[in-house]
Amino acid sequence: MTRPLLEISRLGVEVPIHDRRIPIVEDLSLMISAGEVLALVGESGCGKSMTALAIMRLVPKPLRIASGSEITFDGRPLLELSVPEMRAMRGDSISMIFQDPMSSLNPVRTVGDQVTEVIALHDHRVSRAEARKRTIALFERTGIPEPAARYDAYPHQLSGGLKQRVMIAMALIMQPRLLIADEPTTALDVTVQAQILELLRELQREFQTAILLITHDLGVVNELADRVAVMYGGRIAEEAERVDLLTTSRHPYTKGLLASIPHVDRRHADLTEIPGVVPVPGEGPMGCRFATRCPIAFAPCQDERPPAVDLGSNHCAWCHAVAKEVAAS
């Protein structure tokens, strides 16, 4: 089997408060192969953004990556690289786009300038004229109308959708092997969302970029993902191929999520919800994070970490109940 492009092993992100260490992300392991789209799904506060920032080593102080974490990209151990070496990877081999394009772009510089900066940072041989040409070409490719004129525009002069296209161009200009997209469509109108997702799909195929797609929207997952990982309370709950997850999920949390999607054809029915609230990091059950809200929780769930249960064909669930079922069958 070919080596995966990105391999995360036992990643932890914690914040030291007083004399405790509160885990935001705990014992997380993931794998992305070259050219694959992995969706990381979960509600707000489950730690998915932190996971993304950890890969880029941009975790904001006072949070930090826990010792014992390992992230390997293309064979290189990211967490052991020196700061200049890591900087060289950002924007070049691994890129990231963020949720709110308005605040994510520098308001006092032109958008074209901000994109060519990426080229200037990573490839000194490219002349300014050449960099400008490449940027405009990529603008065109990302669907920005009148790309040459838009090069000299400022962020506030562009619509949300256009700004996000600029962000995508900025992230892909050096043709990175991995793109991390943190909620790329959440801040956009629904119609624009569809366009951006379409764009990402095309570009992904054309450049053969792997994408780590962070989202809370299962609709987005359905549009883009090859595989899906569901996060809850800082840990992975279930991981599977897209179709498997959407049709034959086994973890009670995933099932709850899927059940809570309103159906157009189910009229006059109450919306199903998962009772309770997401646990605050550091509080709540430390065995299985979902124990207090789970309809089928039993003895070991509160205090014992659920084991990884292999369900075949890349499908894995972390759940005591599922483990019991599998052992019984």
């Binding site: 200049p84 900087r87 605040s103 772009l105 900066e117 506030h156 900025m170």
Partner: protein, 328 residues
């Protein structure tokens, strides 16, 4: 853009008229011209001498409305203190000092040179020190260096400027004898020696508050999303500071600079007076100590004018610095 300029300048002109009105109330309505005359001529001066003095200095007209015999038509309004006050101030016809009859405009022209030779280096140096120190500290935020500098600024801010002046004169002028305690010689070869101490005192007394403010601006900008994007692109911390944060931080810093402009006029008041620099500040202090209302009135007017012009300039500079304003 042009419409904005016109509106802005008109509002400035309106403000000038308002300031003149305020000055009129202060110096003519509340103060009694007879008292001013007596202060200049002495308590024992007779009523004729006082009346003559008042006529010479333009205090002999009624305040707002003139209905004396022989006055008709428009002169009812124009032959009044109010009108004269406006007319003269707006045409820069400043008249003579109440204390010694010298022409005020002349004194102002003579004093402008020495004043500027003090305030301009002070302003530029203070700005450079403040911004550089703040950038440095923002880069090292949340470390010991940050803490030490902040504490230093806090201590520096809490000392009254009077104490800096006295202390500076005592320590550096008297004890160390590096620079003269006071005095001024416009000869370009030696003028720097006389300006060194006042400029030093001025910078030291002001850098504390400035640095803290600039630092806050820089640190706030550093926390913004576009800085995160810049890092995700591969920018190093220094590049982030200089090519991204600085430009954005300039905008609030510009406001602070404009607020410094009137200080250049009055803070220099103390420095000039203590260090014997014959500029506009000394002129004002002499006017205060000599109860010279007409000079004081003029100096206040000029100070206000300088401030209003400075504000207009700053508003215009915003449109240059911030593309969001320029292009909307």
């Amino acid at each position: 853009m042009l419409a904005y300029l016109v509106r802005r300048i008109s509002y400035g002109a309106l403000t000038v008229l308002g300031v003149l009105f305020l000055l009129f109330i202060l110096f003519f309505a509340i103060t009694n011209p007879d008292d001013i005359a007596r202060k200049a001529l002495g308590e024992k001066a007779g009523p004729d001498v006082i009346a003559q003095w008042k006529t010479n200095h333009g205090y002999d007209r009624p305040l707002l409305f003139n209905n004396r015999t022989g006055v008709s038509g428009l002169a009812h309004l124009t032959d009044t203190l109010l009108f004269e006050h406006y007319r003269r101030m707006l045409t820069f016809d400043f008249g003579r000092s109440d204390a010694d009859d010298a022409p005020i405009a002349q004194r102002i022209l003579e004093g402008a040179g020495p004043s500027l030779s003090l305030t301009v280096p002070l302003f530029v140096l203070g700005l450079i020190v403040g911004v550089t120190l703040a950038l440095f500290v923002a880069f090292f935020r949340e470390t010991y260096i940050d803490w030490i500098v902040l504490v230093g600024c806090m201590l520096a801010m809490s000392v009254a400027i009077l104490l800096y002046i006295i202390g500076g004169q005592y320590l550096i002028g008297m004890q160390l004898k590096w620079f003269p305690i006071s005095g001024y010689d416009p000869n370009p070869a030696v003028v720097a020696r006389f300006l060194a101490l006042p400029v030093l005192v001025g910078v030291v007394s002001g850098f504390g508050a400035d640095t803290r403010f600039y630092r806050t601006v820089f640190v706030e900008e550093t926390g913004k999303d576009y800085v995160r994007t810049a890092r995700a692109k591969g920018c190093g911390e220094i590049r982030v500071m200089v090519r991204h944060v600085l430009r954005n931080a300039l905008i609030p810093i510009l406001t602070n600079i404009v607020m410094a402009i009137p200080f250049l006029f009055t803070g220099a008041l103390l420095l000039e007076s203590f260090f014997g620099i014959p500029g506009l500040g000394s002129l004002t202090v002499e006017a205060i100590q000599g109860n010279d209302f007409s000079t004081l009135r003029t100096m206040v007017y000029i100070g206000a004018l300088a401030f209003i012009i400075g504000q207009i300039l700053t508003d215009i500079s915003y449109t240059v610095a911030d593309p969001r304003i320029r292009l909307s």
